[in-house]
Amino acid sequence: MKILVPVKRVVDYNVQVRVRADQQGVETTGVKMSMNPFDEIAVEEAVRLKEKGVATEIVVLSIGPAQAQDTLRTALAMGADRAVLITAEPNPEPLAVAKLIKAVAEKEGPSIIILGKQAIDDDMNATSQSLAALLDWPQGTFASKVEVKGEEVEVTREIDGGLETVALKLPAIISTDLRLNEPRYAALPNIMKARKKPLETLTPADLSVDVTPRLETLKVAEPAKRQGGKKVGSVAELVEKLKTEARVI
């Protein structure tokens, strides 16, 4: 079976982001960018399914600026077979992204599409569910375990209070949670080989998808700063302050 894995280029998770002075977004010029951590887990899961002989081909897809190519090369170095880049700037919203992925899925015919559960920039947690709706496929979100069993895939999901296992008829959508696996590092020879793997470039117009945003961002502001930093000398002093000053115990 073929697996499609959409990946997103985001501000690296270690970067302390700064809100732009014009309040229209956060500073991204000169900031380190990486593959969204949940998407690395998605690529890893696809590669493991190929190593087990379940998958035969892995196609990775990214939607964003031309530099998203780097993110795709990383996925190819991890073990994906070929890549598709849809250039669009600024990054389209999850609904538009889902429509673009749907168009690619209709051309490629994958049995499983694996996505990260959320991108750490917009924190939306929406693309996989929206894509599943548009394709009318079942969804296994927040997956911590994936097992293909014949015509079904069993997905163990992280829910409030524990775990739930669902069985989905293929083709299906899976979104990854952190504990699904530990992504591998791409070895240098694989990074070299990845440069030669095929990468096709498209635009939203090629796929006849309207990516006009539905949400207008009026303002991006910094959250209120906490007045932290007060130190106490002992446990007794701490309890005293919590009782008399903070009045929380």
Binding site: V19, R157, A221
Partner: protein, 317 residues
């Protein structure tokens, strides 16, 4: 302007995050709530008495018993035509079903709102809570998930809503959508303590706890304070506690009155899940730990000495 809020029930009671979602939407107008599953009579009575609820819709069918996204999103979509807003708490179930329903309605979901500025304008955190975006929706139906920690829950009493069954056509849509997925099993972690997302006090341990059995040290403190026990991702990844204890960007987001972080360095990912707590206490032996920058009260100490002392001090009261 009327909103439809999907609410979750457990043993005949309405979960607290759902009451917060009701409170958030009540700012805009009438609220109708949707209950789905089986054996709904006790939950329907509970829902009808929540302050601010004008009508309770019940969708009673076995396909809806496990909050599977496919039937639930189809049900919400079938009912959405009568409403200006469709919403749910940003719980595992809400985050699973609402974006699916939104796409079926050709709308862009607005996830995890923390503020309501108007009928079409909402505030939501981005970049792990390091920025707050105010967004205005151009969609005719606004589909939202609500961060429970940001809105005090609607009172469980004081309301007197009418109850009616959801139209048969909506139930048929849910049944038709249930063909491709099925629930297999649950593995629920039992806990006698308050629910993490709803607790007034949360005591959390991190990598500094060093081992799973050391989390027992936190139990007497949690008992004395009536607290839930949480953990950092590092503690979960090290296998000290199950992942449903995790507080952070990828776990549960909490905003209790008192949050006590023990042996937690304070990575961005963790802060995203707790920095709206009213009072934050940090106990850490590394005085440079970033957690001290957000802590109202910090104690630089070895937790294995400080935690038993804290228990003894609390026992004095």
């Amino acid at each position: 302007m009327t909103a439809l809020v999907f609410i979750e029930h457990e043993n005949g009671a309405i979960r607290q995050p759902s009451r917060s979602a009701i409170a958030a939407l009540a700012k805009l107008g009438d609220v109708h709530v949707l209950l789905a599953g089986t054996d709904l009579s006790a939950a329907a009575t509970a829902a009808a008495s929540i302050a601010g609820v004008a009508k309770v819709l019940t969708a009673e069918d076995a396909v809806l018993a496990d909050n599977l996204a496919e039937p639930l999103a189809a049900l919400l979509t079938a009912l959405a035509g009568d409403y200006s807003h469709v919403a749910a708490a940003a719980t595992a179930a809400g985050k699973n079903a609402l974006p699916r329903a939104a796409a079926l309605l050709d709308a862009q979901v607005i996830s995890d709102i923390v503020g309501v500025e108007g009928a079409d304008t909402f505030i939501r955190p981005i970049y792990a809570g390091n920025a707050l975006a105010t967004v205005k929706s151009k969609d005719p139906v606004r589909v939202l998930t609500v961060r429970a920690a940001a809105f005090p829950p609607a009172e469980p009493t004081g309301g007197s809503a009418s109850t009616e069954a959801a139209p048969a056509a909506a139930l048929d849509a849910a049944k038709a959508a249930a063909a491709k997925s099925r629930h297999v099993s649950y593995e629920i972690h039992k806990s006698e303590r308050p629910e993490l997302s709803a607790a007034r006090v949360v005591v959390s341990g991190g990598r500094g706890m060093a081992a799973s059995e050391n989390f027992k040290l936190l139990e007497p403190i949690a008992d004395k304070l009536g607290a839930a026990i949480g953990a950092s991702r590092a503690a979960v990844d090290s296998g000290f506690v199950p992942n449903d204890r995790q507080v952070g960007q990828t776990g549960t987001i909490v905003a209790p009155e008192l949050y006590i972080a023990i042996g937690i360095s304070g990575a961005i990912q963790h802060l995203a899940g707790m920095k709206d707590s009213k009072v934050i206490v940090a106990i850490n032996k590394d005085e440079e730990a970033p957690i001290f920058q957000v802590a109202d009260y910090g104690l630089v100490a070895d937790l294995f000495k400080a935690v038993p002392e804290l228990d003894a001090e609390l026992a004095k009261a």
